[in-house]
Symmetry: C2
Subunit: 238 residues, 2 copies
DNA sequence: GAGGGCTCGTGACCGTGATCACAAGCAAAA
DNA sequence: TTTTGCTTGTGATCACGGTCACGAGCCCTC
């Protein structure tokens, strides 16, 4: 089965092939079937907006393939990226549960696929399946912790270098949790990194230069190699 | 009935005398009774810590009387206040639901009273009463929105004056939603205000001077009068 | 009334990171 | 090939806000 944008359609990406700790995994058979009935699947090109900040919540999106970035902007055009979402993540849950406008914009960073569950159907489903409602509460709680971490980073970290080091470390632990010298593909532009740590593109460029010179990291094409994790951790220290 | 700290003990502050939209209001009779069985009430002096950032979650606190401030600190001692809680608020819910350490410190800003519900009892209660679990999800979602707003403030607002204006407006709309010239008691020190908007005490002092000079606000004793709400809104513009 | 412990106001200084500007690198399109 | 557009590197400038310092005001206790 071939979809647009050169992407294979995944047959049923609610079956949790990737990880098992996700929201709609390991449900009772009945609940799982019901969920399958109310979901619909679609494929998105790079740059597609799943939803936009301020829109009324239509429903949630369960990301099956591809990455998405969640961002929010001020009127003057300044943008911050609050989260990079990956396969398995549930997007728009907060807006749907509380019936408030989407608080972020979700944009596909590469071609991908997502299941859509309309708001009304989901709420009805949650009422029928109280055990899933508690799981939703747990998920919302996790979202909250992520947001809280963001607050700590933005509010407590003083210098851009501190935030940059923190970001690098979070990437390195994700790619290789144990390894001292982690390496991973760098898919973001300096501009995007700047929007994550709340600074300007130029500062990010300078940070790369500085960290290279200090032997903290190395760039091989688009692969970033952490050369001195310990020193990065010392920069963070919060 | 007289309690320590010159405070009258409220007989049952779960009965939602103040507002009705709170978490544990308008429950079924059965659920309400059950909740009464598992809660316990205590009185706290000014400065008392309900819980401290990093502690394992013992349970939630439902604030009945008095105000509390929620804050988080970095190792180097920098502190940010993330929320001012009032009567009716439920504190520690995220930590309890997700079984992670308390993410904030909750300190009483004035003498007060709170109901405590132990973690295990609450979770058991939520399992037995699925309809309340959904309400909890809604509450967590609200918490998330509050956190998100904080992120927007910290990440998007550029200058301290912008954040200060935003804070003043949030206070004025709370005290008198419609009025053009709102006024309210200012109970915080400059230091605390600085911790809310993420700047220094000196800057807050200077902001007060500046805003007074620009006729944006006025101080009558500890009462703050908004003199030009429109101008404040123009400063914010995000 | 004197003392101590807070808040608060304000001046002087200075470092950092935002801003502007421009050139170079690189990839896809024409 | 040239063109176009996006990304990256780096220098020069400069305003803003953090830091330090000090004194004044205020409240409570002794």
């Amino acid at each position: 089965m071939r979809a647009p944008y050169g992407l294979n359609i995944l047959d049923n990406c609610l079956t949790c092939a990737v990880r098992e700790e996700h929201l709609f995994c390991n449900l009772s058979i009945h609940a799982g079937q019901r969920l399958n009935e109310i979901k619909s699947t679609a494929v998105y090109p790079k740059g597609a907006m799943l939803f936009i900040e301020g829109q009324q919540p239509r429903g949630v999106f369960v990301l099956c393939a591809g990455k998405a970035k969640l961002s929010t902007s001020s009127r003057e055009g300044k943008t911050i990226i609050t989260k990079l979402s990956e396969s398995g993540d549930v997007l728009g849950l907060n807006a749907v549960v509380s019936n408030r406008p989407y608080e972020v914009t979700a944009e596909m960073m590469e071609p991908g696929q997502a299941n859509f569950i309309p708001r009304e159907s989901l709420l009805q489903f949650l009422k029928e399946h109280g055990e899933v409602a508690l799981r939703v509460a747990e998920q919302l709680s996790r979202n909250y912790y992520t947001a809280y971490d963001e607050i700590r980073t933005l509010g407590l970290a003083t210098s851009p270098s501190e935030k940059f080091a923190k970001l690098l470390l979070s990437w390195s632990t994700k790619s290789s949790p144990t390894d001292e010298a982690a390496q991973f593909k760098l898919t973001l532009t300096h501009e995007e990194i700047a929007e994550i740590i709340g600074t300007t593109r130029e500062t990010v460029s300078r940070l790369f230069s500085e960290f290279k010179k200090k032997q903290l990291l190395q760039l091989k094409g688009s692969t970033l190699v952490i050369r001195n994790r310990h020193a990065l951790e010392k920069i963070v220290q919060s």
